[in-house]
């Protein structure tokens, strides 16, 4: 089994990945575009040198289509991990010292992964982010569980059973709490100064809080709902000193079909996966495991210096 580590690099200066219509549906367009852009840019940078000058998009000689550049040239293998593209950790990192930044990391667990694996994933994802940013800790770690989605309408009539309790809620909650232990661990060792959850309604929050050792200090709600968050949740959050923040992510940010397309041999693919005409490449079933989004904002200036995504998918060899 190989772990594929997909990364976007800093998307703040990678113009094309800015979402053109952020007000439209919640979307993972930013992540997908940013990955695609970064793959392409890396390929071009690692393309064979002709006449002593590296190829750029402007001086592309015939016969070197991005599809033809073998992935081994712009990716890097480290043990059982394949970095797509390779990450130059020596060049990365934030410009100023830790105290200048507000660093928020959001970890998306993807469907079909077990709680025990999620604990490992949490550590793995945070380690990578810290390595990329060259920072010893982050300010806020938010975890997003698959299939958990706040619905303002559910909360309106408080005596009705909210939706989620109907779907084997006890098991869900147990799994979440098990995962939360890894989050609590990061908090206790000082890696994540604050921790939070995403898309929890007041009922779920209440049950969750009863079983946590380290309480979440943040609950993220989709910006679509920010003006219709029910009073009950606002009051409850205030009482429990949980800050309700907004986000614009979808919960299933990286379906496996999307990864296959991103890495595949097709027109928009990175040609990491084997092609139909016997072109060399990885073979096997791909299963995305987690996605992490990190944002470093310069604290008293409100300027985003670095934002990026890292995703991990497993491919069975």
């Amino acid at each position: 089994m190989t772990k594929l580590i997909l990364s976007t690099s800093n998307i703040m200066n990678g113009g094309p990945s800015i979402i053109r219509r952020p007000t439209s549906e919640r979307s993972n367009v930013e992540l997908i575009n940013a990955l695609r852009t970064n793959f392409l840019a890396s390929k071009q940078a690692f393309a064979p040198i002709t006449n002593g000058t590296p190829e750029t998009s402007q001086t592309k000689p015939p016969g070197h289509k991005p599809q033809d550049i073998p992935y081994s040239m712009w990716t890097a293998r480290d043990g059982d991990s394949l970095f797509i593209p390779s990450i130059e950790f020596s060049d990365s990192g934030l410009a100023e010292e830790r105290s200048q930044y507000d660093i928020t990391v959001k970890l998306f667990f993807l469907p079909h992964t077990s709680a025990s694996k999620r604990c490992t994933h949490t550590q793995e994802a945070i380690d990578l982010v810290l390595k990329v940013l060259k920072m010893p800790s982050i300010d806020l770690l938010i975890v997003s569980f698959p299939g958990v989605s706040f619905d303002a309408d559910d909360e309106e009539e408080e005596d009705e059973e909210p939706n989620w309790t109907q779907q084997s809620s006890e098991e869900d909650l147990n799994a979440m709490i098990d995962t939360w232990r890894a989050v609590e661990h990061l908090h206790k060792e000082g890696t994540a100064l604050q921790v939070g959850v995403s898309e929890f309604g007041s009922e779920r929050l209440q049950k969750f809080l009863q079983r946590t050792k380290v309480r979440p200090s943040v609950d993220q709600i989709n910006v679509r709902d920010c003006c219709v968050v029910p009073k009950s949740l606002i009051l409850y959050a205030k009482q429990e000193k949980i800050e309700l923040l907004t986000h614009n992510d979808c919960t299933n940010v990286l379906p496996s079909g999307t990864v296959r397309e991103l890495l595949g041999p097709g027109e928009n693919g990175a040609a990491v996966l084997a092609g139909p005409e016997g072109r060399e490449g990885l073979k096997g079933e791909i299963e995305p495991q987690w996605v992490v989004k990190y944002t470093a904002v310069i604290r008293d200036r409100g300027v985003i210096e670095n934002k990026g995504y890292i995703a991990m998918a497993e491919i069975s060899d």
């Binding site: 690099s9 113009g15 053109r20 840019a41 040198i49 309700l244 907004t246 008293d300």
Partner: protein, 665 residues
């Protein structure tokens, strides 16, 4: 803001002119001292402030008339006494009801017009998103405090101009007859201006330098019964009190225009100005450049000035009127006669859109620079000899082509390099639409940029919305490294376009097609995951013809975004860019919801779903029963208009009056 200063003996014009070089040279030395002291200043936090300017009106219910109140000094004195009491721990009940504990008390300032007040927050705002929620309540409390120190029939309104300033009747209280020694206006008395010696001197010296009165001609709005041609009926061609009374006989008043002749017609306008502190000089220079192309767009979008001197104008904004009201250029400088005594022809008034870009940015192409830029070459050389780079030296050497207007004899004795008075003398009388402000002598303040084109809005809700929008767009500019560069002459042209009636919907503006930076090119893997520590990578200088970089867009397209076509991504829109920014930072639901209200207002003003103030005011006049279709805004119509404005200030359209500006039907 026109800052008051200690009293001294101001020089009359011929004397001031003789000392102009002296002041300029000392000003440049002071600038160099400031620059050397502060160029390495780093890591200043974002602090920002807004300035709200009010007209004080007095209602006369009995006569159904509204006048401008000239009690600025009395009101300020009462406010100052109250503030002093409060600082001593005294209790002023009406203040305590509006100011929360721990809030800094707002600061009130005098302005040029004696009927004006300016209020700023007691302490600057930060970028804490919760701070943003305090802006609107703070603006409202400023107005309440101001009102509490006025007579019961007086009210602070935020119209850009008083619709009947300069009419033949008693439009001011107390009343003074026109045609004084300082302004020599046939419409306004000298007493219209703040009596502080600086202000009348400024007005008189602008007039003297020019060699005649200032000349403001605003095109008349031609309604169905407006006389054609229209000759401003309020002009008296037979006055013979001052030499300047000849101006109108020499053709100063143009047919089909509303004619005005004094600084107070322009400097008596209220604006909404926002000042930001930058992290360092580099960021300040970048913001100065990037905000410049946004100026005309925000001017047209905030349009609120359709009436002058009791007539409907065919323009919607105040800018050019202020520009002409302080235009001190001589006939030689204006190009009306060949150059003989003056040094150069000058294309723009001291109050005008910017003519420089100053950022040391790889995205700045030389093709964007103003080919008509006039600089004082000697002063520029002096700055460069002092170590300043070409771009910044050219900027200040451009501001320093002007003469200092108010010189105090006491200040000419000794050059004090720890002070900034001579530098500020020129800097503060160059009223460009963006101002780059070096740090004052105190250690706490950094390099700042002032955004000056916006028109004041009737309500504090709107004023907060536009102020906060500008703050957020600066954060988006810095975060996404946005590039709005277009050639400066196009911004100059856009500024003119912004004046047209209903320009916000009916006209197109030059704007950059793609504001997103090109991705830095990676070379053989040398560039890594993130910006290398210490040396942020800059996007490459764009290539290709400059004319392909920009096109004509509607304000709706600029604000809300162009629709994507098959091969062109389309301009993303300033509001979506701000939303992109907000989606990337931690904002709580309450703040985000409030910000959504502001962005919704601005987006709908741009799309035409909501009306600008100018459109609403014009519509109000034209639909009024007493309006005769002849462009005249009579005393009765004005009374009802200002009454309605007062109601809108309080109710924000909720009573139905002015709803077109706030809620789409």
């Amino acid at each position: 803001m026109l800052s008051a200063r200690a009293l001294g003996t101001p020089l009359e014009w011929p004397e001031a002119k003789k000392n102009a070089n002296h002041v300029r040279e000392w000003g440049i030395e002071q600038l160099l001292a400031i620059w050397k002291r502060a160029k390495g200043k780093e890591r200043d936090a974002l602090r920002w402030g807004d300035e709200i300017e009010y007209l004080v009106v007095a209602f006369d219910e009995e006569k159904r008339k509204v006048r401008l109140s000239l009690r600025q000094a009395d009101i300020l004195r009462d406010l100052a006494q109250d503030a002093a009491l409060r600082e001593q721990g005294g209790c002023v009940p009406e203040l305590q009801t509006v100011i929360h504990d721990g809030d800094a008390i707002p600061v009130f300032h005098p302005e040029f017009g004696r009927f004006m007040l300016e209020a700023t927050p007691g302490k600057p705002w930060g970028i804490g998103f919760k701070d943003l929620l305090d802006v609107e309540p703070n603006m409202k409390s400023r107005r309440v405090i101001a009102k509490d120190h006025m007579k019961s029939n007086e009210y602070p309104i935020t119209l850009t101009t008083f619709p009947r300033l300069g009419t033949k009747d008693d439009f001011i209280t107390p009343y003074f007859p026109p045609s004084g020694e300082r302004l020599r206006s046939q419409f306004l008395p000298d007493e219209i201006a703040n009596p502080h010696i600086r202000f009348p001197t400024l007005a008189a010296n602008i007039r003297s330098r020019r060699g005649r009165k200032v000349e403001i001609n605003v095109p008349i709005f031609k309604d169905k019964n407006t006389p054609r041609p229209f000759m401003d009926p309020t002009i008296d061609f037979n006055l013979h009190k001052w030499p300047e009374d000849d101006d109108v006989r020499n053709g100063a008043a143009k047919p089909d225009h509303i004619y005005m002749d004094a600084m107070a017609f322009g400097m008596g306008s209220c604006c909404l100005q926002i000042t930001f502190q930058a992290k360092n000089i580099t960021e300040g220079r970048r913001l100065y450049d990037q905000l410049s192309p946004l100026g005309p767009i925000m001017l047209a979008l905030t349009a609120a000035t359709p009436i002058y001197k009791g007539f409907l104008a065919d323009t919607d904004v105040r800018w050019n009127q202020i520009s002409r009201a302080v235009d001190d250029r001589t006939p030689e400088e204006l190009g009306e006669v060949p150059l003989k005594n003056d040094r150069w022809r000058i294309p723009k008034s001291r109050y005008a859109s910017n003519s420089t870009y100053i950022s040391q940015d790889s995205q700045l192409r030389k093709e964007y620079m103003d080919p008509d830029l006039v600089v004082d070459k000697d002063l520029k050389q002096r700055l460069m000899d002092g170590g300043m780079d070409d771009l910044l030296a050219a900027h200040f050497a451009h501001l320093f082509i002007r003469d200092p207007l108010v010189i105090f004899a006491e200040d000419l004795k000794e050059l004090d390099l720890t002070k900034t008075d001579h530098f500020e003398n020129l800097q503060s009388t160059n009223w460009q639409h963006i101002r780059f402000k070096p740090p004052p002598p105190d250690k706490d303040t950094g390099w700042r940029v002032e955004f000056r084109p916006m028109e004041i809005q009737i309500t504090d809700f709107e004023n907060a919305a536009f102020a906060i929008f500008i703050v957020l767009i600066t954060r988006a500019i810095l975060s996404f490294d946005l590039n709005f560069y277009i050639p400066i002459p196009l911004t100059t042209q856009n500024m003119e376009t912004a004046h047209a009636r209903n320009a916000v919907l009916d006209h197109k503006f030059h704007f950059r097609n793609d504001p997103l930076p090109a991705r830095p090119v990676k070379i053989n893997g040398a560039s890594g995951t993130t910006t290398p520590a210490g040396q942020p990578s800059r996007p490459p200088t764009p290539t290709g013809p400059v004319s392909d970089e920009h096109s004509l867009m509607t304000i709706n397209e600029i604000m809300n975004g162009q629709s994507q076509s098959h091969c062109q991504p389309g301009f993303p829109g300033l509001i979506p860019l701000v939303e992109s920014y907000l989606n990337s930072v931690n904002v709580d639901v309450e703040t985000r919801c409030e910000l959504a209200r502001y962005l919704d207002l601005i987006g709908k003003r741009a799309s035409g779903q909501l009306w600008t103030g100018a459109k609403w005011i014009r519509h109000f006049v034209r639909e009024h029963n007493d309006y005769e279709g002849d462009s005249v805004v009579s005393e009765g119509v004005n009374y009802d208009l200002v009454k309605a404005v007062e109601e809108i200030t309080e109710r924000e359209g909720k009573s139905g009056v002015g709803v077109e500006m706030f809620r789409a039907r």
